[in-house]
Symmetry: T
Subunit: 144 residues, 12 copies
Amino acid sequence: MKKILIINGPNLNMLGAREPEIYGSQTIADIEKLCRETAEKLGFSIDFRQSNAEAEMIGWIQESAKFNALIINAAAYTHTSVAIYDALLAVKIPVVEVHLSNIFRREEFRHHSYVSRAAKGVICGFGAGSYALALQGIKELLNA
Amino acid sequence: MKKILIINGPNLNMLGAREPEIYGSQTIADIEKLCRETAEKLGFSIDFRQSNAEAEMIGWIQESAKFNALIINAAAYTHTSVAIYDALLAVKIPVVEVHLSNIFRREEFRHHSYVSRAAKGVICGFGAGSYALALQGIKELLNA
Amino acid sequence: MKKILIINGPNLNMLGAREPEIYGSQTIADIEKLCRETAEKLGFSIDFRQSNAEAEMIGWIQESAKFNALIINAAAYTHTSVAIYDALLAVKIPVVEVHLSNIFRREEFRHHSYVSRAAKGVICGFGAGSYALALQGIKELLNA
Amino acid sequence: MKKILIINGPNLNMLGAREPEIYGSQTIADIEKLCRETAEKLGFSIDFRQSNAEAEMIGWIQESAKFNALIINAAAYTHTSVAIYDALLAVKIPVVEVHLSNIFRREEFRHHSYVSRAAKGVICGFGAGSYALALQGIKELLNA
Amino acid sequence: MKKILIINGPNLNMLGAREPEIYGSQTIADIEKLCRETAEKLGFSIDFRQSNAEAEMIGWIQESAKFNALIINAAAYTHTSVAIYDALLAVKIPVVEVHLSNIFRREEFRHHSYVSRAAKGVICGFGAGSYALALQGIKELLNA
Amino acid sequence: MKKILIINGPNLNMLGAREPEIYGSQTIADIEKLCRETAEKLGFSIDFRQSNAEAEMIGWIQESAKFNALIINAAAYTHTSVAIYDALLAVKIPVVEVHLSNIFRREEFRHHSYVSRAAKGVICGFGAGSYALALQGIKELLNA
Amino acid sequence: MKKILIINGPNLNMLGAREPEIYGSQTIADIEKLCRETAEKLGFSIDFRQSNAEAEMIGWIQESAKFNALIINAAAYTHTSVAIYDALLAVKIPVVEVHLSNIFRREEFRHHSYVSRAAKGVICGFGAGSYALALQGIKELLNA
Amino acid sequence: MKKILIINGPNLNMLGAREPEIYGSQTIADIEKLCRETAEKLGFSIDFRQSNAEAEMIGWIQESAKFNALIINAAAYTHTSVAIYDALLAVKIPVVEVHLSNIFRREEFRHHSYVSRAAKGVICGFGAGSYALALQGIKELLNA
Amino acid sequence: MKKILIINGPNLNMLGAREPEIYGSQTIADIEKLCRETAEKLGFSIDFRQSNAEAEMIGWIQESAKFNALIINAAAYTHTSVAIYDALLAVKIPVVEVHLSNIFRREEFRHHSYVSRAAKGVICGFGAGSYALALQGIKELLNA
Amino acid sequence: MKKILIINGPNLNMLGAREPEIYGSQTIADIEKLCRETAEKLGFSIDFRQSNAEAEMIGWIQESAKFNALIINAAAYTHTSVAIYDALLAVKIPVVEVHLSNIFRREEFRHHSYVSRAAKGVICGFGAGSYALALQGIKELLNA
Amino acid sequence: MKKILIINGPNLNMLGAREPEIYGSQTIADIEKLCRETAEKLGFSIDFRQSNAEAEMIGWIQESAKFNALIINAAAYTHTSVAIYDALLAVKIPVVEVHLSNIFRREEFRHHSYVSRAAKGVICGFGAGSYALALQGIKELLNA
Amino acid sequence: MKKILIINGPNLNMLGAREPEIYGSQTIADIEKLCRETAEKLGFSIDFRQSNAEAEMIGWIQESAKFNALIINAAAYTHTSVAIYDALLAVKIPVVEVHLSNIFRREEFRHHSYVSRAAKGVICGFGAGSYALALQGIKELLNA
């Protein structure tokens, strides 16, 4: 069974309470549940994590050899973290970047992503659905 | 049955022959076939079109009232066409932007997209798979 | 009787339906009607055209020798088309640029106009009234 | 009878003598005369003023509650005065910006206007005719 | 008794009427009253002035030798006036910059302040309260 | 009794030893003492914290529901942390940004603050006094 | 016999009439004649085309497999068309870019060329002679 | 006898007291005295003025027809005033720009001068001596 | 015996496995061993540390009073961390910045270093040898 | 017989040995030979020179009155030398700029050429053939 | 007797022949003669030199210890030569920068001067008269 | 015995006299002596040269085939010379860039180095010690 690591970045633990007009009313637990259900259908097991700490996220990315693919929503660190970018450059499994909102319709500084430079594919704007699509995309990438 | 309009922009008629190291070896016909198969599974009918002409693409976008959703790979016009952007702004159905390649790993001028500003969601980097994911994403958007 | 060519650019065929909070509820036919009535009062005949195609607009501009003046609302091409600019540079009759909305209160990329560099005068922000004012302005320019 | 305030900015008192190849040979008195004649035809009374002082212009703008509309040629302050911009933001009557010359064909620093951000409409390039068109434009704005 | 000069810049005479959603409903007289009351408690006398004229404000700043501290809300001139900046550079008493609104949440051009470069401290965003805090801040600066 | 959370960012634990010509000779303990005394006078209780870790600061900001107001000196993260900005955007109590020094008289990169975009008010340049003024400012904000 | 495709972009159909001080007095027919005569001497046959339409030019570039070399004067599209650039990237025969005028002595926006990034060689500033030199250059490129 | 108008801008009335490490210890009266003495030797009469008000300076520049040459130290307005620039553009007598300090060794924003674009010659960095040199330079310009 | 603190930043724990074409095949343990051997020859003791966490690195820098010199390879934080820069500004012992690769031959965003602004010397491009050279450089700095 | 001066800039003496994948394997002697043969066919005599010294190149350009035309490959000085640009501005004979490589497909800083601003025509990307084409181009320019 | 070194940069040996509409019709010999006559009146001896070579100019600047003052017209190197700037930084005698033309009315790249950053005073726009004024300015600087 | 070429650029012949607060009090002869002593210990012979002339430096770089490694302190040409960069690109032996001062703590224009793009390693900020470290670094590079 293929194992997928799903990493969530800062403030995603506040989903539901945090700016629901942008991020929707689903909590991080709701997203984890959706990911588990989708993964099950696709024959994947998932390891779903969230952290506000850049270093912890780097540590998790460095564990990627134990997984078959990586989905990452680096949240605010998307736009500022060269350290996460460097960690991703060393990753040999497929990486998919996701965002709940369409970051290109928001503030200018959210239009640039260090993660995109290191990812295979990018999916954004589908709310929690971005994660489900990412799992399906990984299915295809691993089959190809 | 929901009807999905899929619009492809300039040079996508050359897929397979054109820079296969970037765009893969599938032809536009292969992508259309994949879209038809995926749509069928999802209960959609599709109208799949390709044009090198900005004005023709604008005209097709203006027909959007006849459809339930729009998938657009505007190719080179993604980065330069305010006219396509304006046409999309008038569209009331969900719009999903797709790209075969991960445009954020390519030349600087491909990092900016007028289409993203008007789209609901963006998917790129999965090759022909980007289209299949877009159809699945639309499934969710229409259900939501 | 003086003949005035009036050229309208992409998406202006969608007026009324398209973002009425910006462009108002008048259709392109309403604007044409207003232009005909105003022209009649001023003793002009008009040739009123609309196209989504940059090349067709260039072709019309190249016909300018048959007219006494040119009014152009290049819409989205205003901001991107060097080709329309080049066509206008070869025009020997007075050119007036019009816009329905005040483009300087909108997105940054709408603040630059290639058309302005080649036009005699610029009028924007009066809705359909911009066209009527342009015809009156041309009256003065031709009398001067 | 509707009252229109017309404000002219720095150096416009030198018209006729000042760079006639750009601004034409008409004096400020000629422009005032044209404005009076046009206003009379349109059923307006006008209050026509000129000042080289930013503060005096701000004071005049602050008087706008006594008028039905405001026409302003802020001349050089167009490009530099946040204070005039702020004064205009508090104005509740229609504001029309005018320029004698087409500012978009001149030095780069004249392409940006703080006034445009606060005005309803903009008219430039028709020489003294810009004022006449502005009065006509106001006629329409007040009727609408 | 310590004497504090309080200088208010352009358009602040319009407070209450001017964009109340940004500046609140208090008038300049209300702010003066608040300043007088606060000053009295702190053992200060104040000289409270407002002008729309850059030159008048410069003149007042040049009088600073007669005072123990200076509070300045340069309003729009904050962002554009090198002349006020130069006047402040010659001031030897403590200078505190205040703004009613939080200028960093407004238009980009309001984020830069020439006054800040010459002031000891900066307080913004507390409405009329910014002035009261400035007086208290001066209390501390003069005691230190 | 109103509870105020006061968050201090990286290197503020070194105050007194660190660049005293910029930050003064008071230690973080001195500032805490000043805050406690001021808070007592104003009828507030305070929770005073310092961390060098962005993630810990984010966690504290996420606790804001337990408090009536938040004072934050994000130190170096002021200029770089989108993650702290995002955390602040979800905060519903009043936020006041403080700095010991006047950041606008220092290096260019210190002139931009992500915190200012999310704060109600900003106070800087009064040394430890900035905190006391912030507490007084909060008094007014909570009363208003 | 080697076959050379020569593509001319927008407004080149107006040569002779259009800004002769920049483009000279030769018509597009004169240039075609010069090209035919030069080609004949060099043992080439030519297919000489002009279009104002970006899409038609893209279509012609896509036909390049039928030719031995391509000469292109993309005129205004030189500076704006990513779509033409993409089409040229797929071309496997030698491409030479030509311009009548020296584009580097003209407006700033004409100094950047998307075509140059995809061309083997660039020739500009020799008027119609640029085309003759391009044919000679191709002779060498095909012999090498 | 040739008449020379010498205009001094904002804050120059404070010379001697104001930042003597930059501007020296001479007062504006000292400079006027030096100018009178130098002018006398050169056979000129001078009209020496100072104002903090942009509008007053514009008015004086507009009087230039009564003089044979103009020396201007626009001080802070040098860098910001398009209105003074416009006034100078209408001047037909020789204009010489002077500065006490070498503005190119000071803050970046002092390196740009609107006055330089309209002046015949520029002299800076010689303290009060800049004025004496300007008078001598005018001697030559009027003789040439 | 002089004590040298050596701090390594994020992802350097992955050396050997991580992009060996850039960073070489030596592990962090190999580098530590080289540093120990070199230090021994030079009569230094070293404290060699690595962390992915910005805050931990800041804490270590704050311990600098216990050491005679500091060598730092801040890795990705080199380019983004104002907080590490601030920590270094408070350091009174010599600081040497090192990098394994020549950062000036890599991506544009790696050309700027906050660390360089606070370091005495910079050494990069010698692989693990950069550390040995840094130790030798410190020898000289401490002797001088 | 027409005399053509051909000037080659820095490092071109290293051709053949220097980066042959960019500049080809021909030496500067090979290029001189090609130029002599081509010149002979066209009825020209040539003076072929190379220097690494900007000043020597300037001196040669200043000799241009003795020649009928000038071909210049300024190599690296193309992008940096205002002095060569100034020398070329004084030249009254036709100047053709050549480059072996297509400079527009190389590093960004090679896209700008001071030489182009002063040249009649530009030819690049044909290797040594660029020189032969330049001679032919000069033939036409001298005949025209 | 005070000795003044006067250094002239590239292409100034061509004065009179070179672009007389900008530089006037005087030759470098004429300027030398004017300098000698002026110097004699002022009691100076001069050493007047010209070179096209940056290195030779640097060498001359390095000789400055033998002189009492330095006048330099670095011509094109004004805008590009950090090496001349560095040489001037080591000079302990007064340095005056001169230009024949007003460089601020010419191309954008001539507005920046490395020489100005190292000079005491700057004089430009008086033709050969700039040199005479510089000698007079030096008279004052040496007397002060 | 390995032979090392050491090239020093403009103004380094003035060391000791030139800005000792930046460059220290050692002369170029002192540095040469240090290099000879260090080289002897490392078993190298050195060829130590200095020139103010860009072309002479280029010539020396072109001699690199006679040496085993190259150390270069290009001084001011570091920041401006594409010609030296091009010369270095053709060099096949290891190149080490050195600077006496830490160029990243000085003026902005000294932060960019063309030499760094072509060098293996970079060492700066150790005064004359930078050269000694460079020789040691070369020892390692040649052994590796």
